[in-house]
Point group: C2
Chain length 199, copies 2
């Protein structure tokens, strides 16, 4: 059985959990508390030398890290990843966009505010991340105005990847009420079969 | 014929150029000057709504963005991407590591120093990025001590992705002389058939 090392309130970990539920794959969840440095122990570094969660133990003592790579691995050959090479590359395009332009601004803001209770302490960092996070949301809004989902008009891991931190963007200080296509898309994701809430 | 919109001194663009050369695929290169905001014009935003390079025009008026997604698209079905799902996911694992933990520290430092001539002006930002960049290099060193390449002991787009900014890390103020496995790997990449220099 798969083992997932993660934190149930981390969006990156939630991606893997949501996908496993939607795939109806059994798994064991092992809680890792990053605030207690549990992802930085020498034992954990043998699982992921980069010291981050989630990590998937796909076979005894064999590990895969990076949430979006784990989703690729789990979804390959299923309805959650297109077979067509171009469409698959488009899924990856949106997942790389997520990790480079979305997560470091929206997820990190949420982390500073929610996990570290640092709205005041990290005021300047948060102020820098704000316009960059909205820029990423603007890119999503623009795309979703014309398409029901990110790739091929069909729900895929690209949607799961972007949903994870977008649906809790308010916890990072982002106001989604100025958007219309994004909230409608969030509802479409929530209405997918076997959807589960974060947590 | 493919068209690539890019900057020949950008590592992200170089990834695509190096791969196209090694695949012996003809392409047209269109220079985009990011310092002149050429990636932010309304016309360019129709190619990549996120306003970044490189962009691949894979068919007339059809675009793919994000360097690592472009590499996936171009290398699928070739020797540069494993067929095995797990190995392919491991390639992606390293490419997501590159975009999240390596590029924002090493490439961005190089950008601030080399493109913006801002070693003094961005002193504090650079000081923050320094340990994070070295942490990414440490992860690479650790892996390369045991493996000749990143995945399956074979050259792949994971190596191209990590080579792009590692081989010019000195321009971002990173000293590679304390490593041994990384320099040896850089030489292995340089000795691959149809290798071309950045520029």
């Amino acid at each position: 059985m798969y083992k997932v090392y993660g934190d149930v309130y981390s969006g990156n970990c939630y991606k893997v959990k949501l996908l496993l539920h939607q795939l109806a794959k059994p798994y064991q969840w092992i809680d890792i508390d990053i605030l207690k440095q549990e992802s930085r122990t020498s034992e954990f570094l043998t699982k992921n030398p980069n010291g981050k969660i989630p990590v998937l133990e796909y076979a005894e003592g064999r590990y895969l890290f990076e949430s979006n790579a784990i989703m690729y691995f789990l979804s390959n050959g299923t309805n959650f990843l297109p077979i067509d090479t171009l469409e698959c590359a488009q899924v990856l395009q949106w997942l790389f966009f997520e990790q480079y332009s979305h997560e470091p601004n929206i997820a990190t803001s949420r982390y500073l505010i929610r996990y570290l209770n640092g709205a005041e302490k990290y005021k300047e960092v948060l102020a820098e991340k704000r316009p960059r996070g909205y820029a990423a949301l603007d890119v999503m809004e623009r795309h979703l105005t014309k398409h029901p989902f990110f790739v091929g008009d069909k729900y895929s891991i690209a949607d799961i990847g972007l949903y994870a931190y977008t649906h809790v963007a308010d916890e990072g200080g982002f106001d989604l009420s100025k958007y219309s296509a994004i909230p409608a898309w969030l509802e479409r994701v929530k209405s997918q079969p076997n959807y589960i809430e974060m947590g």
